[in-house]
Amino acid sequence: MAADEEELSINEQAISASEDEEGSDDERKHKKLLEAISSMGSRKRKKQNERSEASVQVSEFFVNAEGTGEKVNLSDLLGTVEKTSGASNKTKKQLRNLQSSKETLELPLNKQQTEKIQRGIAYEKTAAEVSCWRNIILQNQKAEQMVFPLNQESPGPKRVEQVVAGWKVQTPLEQEIFRLLHINSQPVDDPVLTPVEEQSLKAMSLEEAKIRRAELQKARALQSYYEAKAKREKKIKSKKYHKVQRKAKCKDFLKQFDEMVKTNPEGALEELKKMELSRMEERMSLKHQNSGKWAKSKAIMAKYDDSARKAMQEQLQMNKDLTQKIVVPSDDEHESNEEGLETIPDFVNDSEPVIDSVNPWMRGQLTHEEPEVSCVTTEDVQTAEEENEEEELVGEFERKRKLRQADEEDLIPTEEERKRAGLKKIQPASEVVEEDVVEVSDKEEEDDDDDDEEEEEEDVSEFNTLFRLMRSEKTLEGSNQTREGLNTPGQEDEEGLLNEGQIRVRNIEDLEVLGEFVDPQPIAEPSLPRTAAVEATSEPPYKKKREIDLKEVLTKEAKAVKVPFLPTVVDEEERDEQISIIKEAFAGDDVISDFIKDKSKLEAAGRPEVVDLTLPGWGEWGGVGLKPSRWKRKRERDEQISIIKEAFAGDDVISDFIKDKSKLEAAGRPEVVDLTLPGWGEWGGVGLKPSRWKRKRFRIKTAPPPPRQDQKLPDVIISENRNASVASHQVSQLPFPFQNTAQFESSIRTPIGPTWNTQSVVKNMTKPKVITKMGAIIEPMVKEDFIKNKTTTPGGKGPAIMLGENKRAKEGTKRSSEKHRGRRSQKRRK
């Protein structure tokens, strides 16, 4: 606009200038000229003034439009503007600038060029718009499989409300159902959720729901892990493992129970009640009372079979354990503190179960305890671990001990033994020592037995045993307080020497040591098997103990104080007696040689055998005790060789082969090309030879071919010629998409057929690139389905140069974009 005004102002200036100079003269001339022109025409043109502008001169006949021809002069404007205070300085300045500037506008571009520019811009725009398809197109081109028509509805089940959309209630039953639904504010069709569900949805935001879901997932995962772990553990067959597990559980329970006693006495009481209940149940039932069929059968066997006897004992023991009355721990504690020695429960004194439960003598001694026995002055201080083992085993031993009376009746020990048991109540060690000899080697076996026993324990009994263990632990704690700083054996010994008090032997090792003190002889005797066994168990500290110098030990022996039920001291005579007894017992059998024999046998069994395929009696005399001759074996081989020789008797294959090969080699060698022309350039005639020079010059030797592939393989001929019959089926050039021959070969090598692959693999490998649905119309792609986020707003980014013609186009685009939007919204509504 500004430019236009400028132009105008310039013109106006020119006109006004002329007017000023020549005034009315010109006007008159102009009128005359006009009249002359008008008179020239045949038709008289009447000029009519049109009413268009307000003017100063107003006629009553017509509207004067004198000012119409004249345009507003810029100077006029300026004049007024200068005077008015309201106009801003800026506009004034602009106007002044306009007045002073004398530049002309450039001519507009011609039509062709403007159109070209328009087209260029439009093309760029369209190309850019179309380029948004690039990714989709590339993806489709690369896709292994395309399924047409695109955007098929999922074949799965549809939502109910989709199916039900056009359905109306018809039968009375349906009406009834819908009435019910309506009453319970259940959604009938479109809103899938009930109001309650919607509310709950609102209550939890998406993030919360996600978090909660994640938590739930985690919990589920953990649970599944735990379950899997439990399953795995349950499957483990190792008894030892389960034993350890159970022990750990017991310990835990004990701890818990202790805490419970302190923190939650009611809970503890309840636990106690439970134990009591289990005890009552056990008492009521006939379980473990050796009254069943099995027990009766075992009773018959018991006379002859040790294991049967043992099993029966265990049963009874279990019954006793389970029916034993539980003493409230708190009371017990007090008593033990006050009364000390006497209240220490029996089983505390029990030694390790290394002693065979079958052994009646052991048990015999245990029952006949005397009050002085329980006197405890010093005790071995052991590591916590050992203690634990001990605790566990103590209970067991006690069980066995309690079986004593029944055993005595059942087992009927020999007269002698019984006598001895009666006589040597205080010194029962001799029998134990006897036992010991065997025990050392049988240690492992016993362990197993222990395991077995424990396996048989029932859940009900667990409470009792646990409780008992608990008690024993407490007492031990008490005792531990009394003895201090006696960790090293040396110290212990010293103390022993000083005090000459009673030593309470509490575990296998001590017992063994004591046994060794007593009689070194029997240990020495079966040294061979025993060392092996010991090595197998490999317990270095114990071994060391055993290696203690006998004499040294013996010096202390005299001072060792006897615990009544343990073999601490044995008289010389007695020892001799024992040795003699042992010797007597093993009089008949040479144990060591037996062992060596057994071992060698086992070794022999492990060795791989020579497989003998000779058929005895085949081709020679048969019968018992006859062996196939060595000659026979040899002859078979010879025979084969001779057969082969016979078969190839006539033809010398090898030499033939060599000949063939040399022939082939010779054929492959390049020949000397002789180009000499005899008589050319020299005298000719019969009997004349070409000169040496000539021969040298014209006999051409070609370069030797590359070495043959079978050059270094004497018994192989590798033909390097191409097989023409196969060649017609072979690919001569590397086909296009492959980069190298290896690629192509590997693509050919992998079979795709069902002969070599499983069904699913074949299906996968042979799936077609394009799948079409039969009878379905494949529509072209729809832009809205594939390019969703890109909204086409052509109106917004119209061409930079706006021309009159473009308005229409713009309208058109607006309309189309509206339509687009309308369609999209419709889709969304669907």
């Binding site: 179309v130 398809w133 690919v731 057929g753 039969m774 119309i777």
Partner: protein, 445 residues
Amino acid sequence: MKVKVLCRNPDDYVRETTRDIQRVPRNYDPTLHPFEVPREYTRALNATKLERVFAKPFVASLDGHRDGISCITKHAKSLSTVISGACDGEVKLWNLPRQECLRTVQAHEGFVRGICSRFCGTSFFTVGDDKTIKQWNLEAPGYGVREEPINTILGKAVFTGIDHHQRESTFVTCGQTVDIWDEQRSSPIRSFSWGVDSFSCVRYNPVETELLASCASDRSIVLYDTRESAPLRKVIMQLRSNTLCWNPMEAYYFTCANEDYNLYTYDIRHLDVPVTVHMDHVSAVLDVDYSPTGREFVSASFDKTIRIFPKDKGHSREVYHTKRMQHVICVRWSADNKYVLSGSDEMNIRLWKANASEKLGLLSTREKAAAHYNKKLIEKFQHHPQVRRIARHRHLPGDILKQKREQREMKEARRRREQNVRKHSKPGSVPLLTEKEKHVAAVVE
């Protein structure tokens, strides 16, 4: 005591129905099945041979027109309906499965130049030599009622082609100008012209629905956008293009059928060089149509053959011809990607299978699996000379074969000549042009 018993899972051997074949457990140990490559090669060879044996593409011929077929169009919603227009102004509706004519309309005086059906499948438009655009109802009028168009528009000049928008009620015609019409109006809502006096074909882009392309008589192909006031760009080729077709799955590709016996696939973003030159025809190509999957297209030629080209290959994979088929004027690929329709000079519409050896109808799963396996085998061994030889072998009519040879010779001669010219002129003065570059004369902005 645990007793171990041999037991089998019934799923492994029980058939679901008695009609199932017995399950045979297989051992896939590769040592038991040696020579996999030679065996598969043999299978591939056999498959190739069988494919050729079973290649019987001709399905049916629809006769009834009394003049050469000038145009065919597919029904937008029905696979079984086809509309064809003849050179005597007659339009016929065909039922394909029954191979019969449903309806005949005398639509125009003179040629029916173009037909298109509306996207909703309720009506169709025809343009003819009598300068009219007529809209017809697809449903036949009642008995005794005269066939009359729903709407007739009288134009100023002859219309040579028509195409309908994919989703909106606008259509485009071409003649002296390219006009965009609203169905409700009797005058075009927009006219495009760019210094040319006649167009032979105009097509809407089925994907980018506002794009148009037309073939003009000045050997050019012009692109338009209905949202713009002016055409977009023009590419001028060595010879005139007769028709063009947009790829229905790839928005920016179109293929044009040219008078120089070739077809050219263009990317509208790079018009200066065609993406692919498809050559095999031995005479002018008159029509082209894409398969609805956008993977292949079919072309009709004046040399009395139809050829099917993969969209990105330079040579055809299939050629169809019959003794009686004359110059093929129009061709369409059915919307289910199974058939090809061709209309030719000798008044017949022919129905062909798109895959010559494909078995029609429902296939059992085993048949399907076998077909897929065979197809894959052929693909795997396609580079082996014997397989390739058999797979490529087509019988061609003698004169076409002769022409082909002739043209090969001509081409060779031209190449040799060019070589010689290059050899004897200043280096760089005769530039080396690729086959693609040779055929584009100019791109006009």
